[in-house]
C-alpha cells in the first residue's frame, strides 16, 4: 500500500484507464464514449511519462553545456507520447465525423436507440 503511494502516478494512470474503460462500456451516449476513449489515451501517456521521470534531473535539453547521461531524464517516453498526442486528436476527429454521419442517418446519439432503429430498418 505504501508502495502504491510512492508510485502514485502509475496508480493514478491505472485508475484513470479503468474510469475511461467504464465510460466506454457503460455510457449510452456516443460522445461520452469518445471522451472515455480520450481519457484512456491520456492515462497511457501518463504511465509512459512517469516511467521516464527521475528525481532531481532536468528536461532533456542541453543545459549549462553538460553532456552526461546522469543529468537528464529519459527522453524516450517524451518522444513516444509527443507523436501519440497528435495522433489521438486525429482519431478523435475521425470518430466525431462518424458520429455526425450517424446522427444524420438516425437522428439520435443514443446507442440503444441506434441499435433498435438499425434492426427495424433491416427488417423492412
Amino acid at each position: 500500500m505504501s508502495h502504491l503511494l510512492l508510485n502514485y502516478y502509475e496508480a493514478a494512470s491505472v485508475i484513470l484507464f479503468g474510469i475511461g474503460f467504464m465510460n466506454l462500456l457503460l455510457q449510452n451516449n456516443l460522445i461520452k464514449k469518445f471522451i472515455g476513449l480520450n481519457i484512456m489515451d491520456t492515462a497511457v501517456y501518463l504511465f509512459l511519462a512517469a516511467k521516464g521521470y527521475i528525481f532531481g534531473r532536468v528536461a532533456p535539453i542541453l543545459t549549462n553545456g553538460v553532456i552526461d547521461a546522469d543529468y537528464y531524464i529519459n527522453p524516450v517516453p517524451a518522444g513516444l507520447v509527443l507523436t501519440g498526442i497528435v495522433v489521438s486528436v486525429s482519431v478523435t476527429a475521425f470518430s466525431l465525423a462518424l458520429v455526425q454521419r450517424l446522427y444524420k442517418h438516425y437522428g439520435t446519439l443514443n446507442m440503444d436507440e441506434i441499435m433498435k432503429l438499425s434492426r427495424e430498418r433491416e427488417g423492412e
Binding site: E10, F55, F94, A97
Partner: protein, 301 residues
C-alpha cells in the same frame, strides 16, 4: 467407400486433398446444418445487454477486476523516479551522450524523433494526412451528402456572423491570432534548440488559424487557404520529408561519405535535416488541425 476410416486415415486423406474432392457435397450439406450443442448454453449477448442491471454489473466487475490486477502490478513495479529503474538503460545513455555529436540537435527529443527514429515520425505524418482524407470522405458536402435542414442552418449561421461587427470574439481574435501564429512559428523554427518542435508548433499554428477562421468566417480564410493550398502543402511536405529521409537508401546504409553538415550545435542553422523536417511536420500538423475545423463547420475547405 463407406467403410469406417480411422482418424489417421481421415487426416491423411485430408492432407492429400482427397477428402475434399470425394466428400465435398456431403461436407457442404453437413456444414449447412445447424450444429447441435445442447450441452452448452450459448450466452446471448443481446439479452445480456437488454438486461440493464446485469450488463452494468458485468461491466463494473470487469473494470474493477482489471483495476485491481493492474494496481497489484503497480505495487510491485520499481519505485517511481529512481535512476536505477530498468527503463533507464543503455539506449537512453547513448541518446544522451552521443546525441549532440551525431544529430547536432540540442533538444534531445527532437534529435530522437527526427533523426534516430525519423521513419516512425514519417508514418505519424501520414496518419494525420490519412485522417483528414477520411474526414473529408465522411463530411464533404456533395451531391450524395446533402440535407436541406443543414443548408438552412449554415446559411442562418453565416447571416448571424455577418450581422455582429464588434463582438468580443472578433476583437480578441484580431489581436490574439497573429501572436498565437507567430509563437507557433517560433516553436517550429526553434524545435532543435528549445522545447517544442513540429508537432507542438504545428498544433499551436492550427489553433491560431482556427481562432482566425471562427472570428472572421470562411470567406476571409479563403483568400489564402483553400483546398488546393491544403493539398499542395500537405503533399509537398510529405514528399519533401520522404526525399530528405530516403537519401540513406541511395547512398548506402550508413550514408558514408555523404555526411550532412551538422553545423555548430546551438545555432539556428544547424542539426542537418532536423530544421527542414520540423518545418514539414509543423506545416502538416497545422493544415490537419485547420482542415478538421473547416470540415466540421462547413463541410468543405
Amino acid at each position: 467407400m463407406n467403410e469406417k476410416k480411422t482418424f489417421w486415415q481421415h487426416l491423411q486423406a485430408w492432407v492429400n486433398g482427397e477428402e475434399a474432392m470425394l466428400h465435398a457435397d456431403e461436407y457442404i450439406k453437413k456444414r449447412e446444418l445447424p450444429r447441435e450443442r445442447n450441452w452448452i448454453r450459448k450466452p446471448d449477448f443481446q439479452r445480456i445487454k437488454a438486461n440493464k442491471g446485469l450488463y452494468w454489473f458485468l461491466c463494473v466487475l470487469v473494470s474493477v477486476v482489471f483495476i485491481t490486477i493492474m494496481l497489484t502490478v503497480v505495487a510491485n513495479l520499481p519505485t517511481f523516479g529512481q535512476p536505477i529503474n530498468p527503463a533507464n538503460n543503455e539506449v537512453v545513455e547513448r541518446y544522451l551522450e552521443k546525441g549532440i555529436e551525431e544529430t547536432g540537435a540540442i533538444n534531445f527529443v527532437a534529435g530522437m524523433i527526427l533523426d534516430y527514429r525519423a521513419f516512425d515520425t514519417f508514418g505519424e505524418s501520414n496518419v494525420l494526412f490519412l485522417a483528414v482524407i477520411s474526414v473529408l470522405i465522411l463530411l464533404k458536402r456533395d451531391k450524395k451528402n446533402i440535407d436541406a435542414r443543414e443548408d438552412r442552418e449554415t446559411e442562418e449561421d453565416e447571416r448571424f456572423d455577418k450581422s455582429d461587427h464588434k463582438s468580443i470574439l472578433k476583437i480578441g481574435a484580431k489581436y490574439l491570432s497573429p501572436v498565437i501564429i507567430l509563437y507557433g512559428i517560433y516553436v517550429v523554427l526553434n524545435g532543435h534548440l528549445s522545447p517544442g518542435g513540429g508537432f507542438s508548433g504545428g498544433s499551436i499554428i492550427g489553433a491560431g488559424l482556427i481562432l482566425y477562421a471562427a472570428a472572421n468566417g470562411h470567406e476571409k480564410m479563403h483568400r489564402f487557404f483553400t483546398f488546393k493550398t491544403f493539398t499542395l502543402i500537405s503533399v509537398g511536405c510529405l514528399l519533401t520529408y520522404c526525399g530528405c529521409k530516403s537519401y540513406s537508401f541511395f547512398t548506402g546504409a550508413n550514408h558514408v561519405g555523404y555526411e550532412i553538415p551538422k553545423g555548430i550545435p546551438g545555432n539556428i542553422l544547424s542539426a542537418g535535416f532536423i530544421l527542414p523536417l520540423n518545418i514539414c511536420v509543423g506545416l502538416i500538423v497545422a493544415c490537419t488541425m485547420y482542415g478538421f475545423y473547416a470540415l466540421f463547420t462547413k463541410g468543405d475547405m
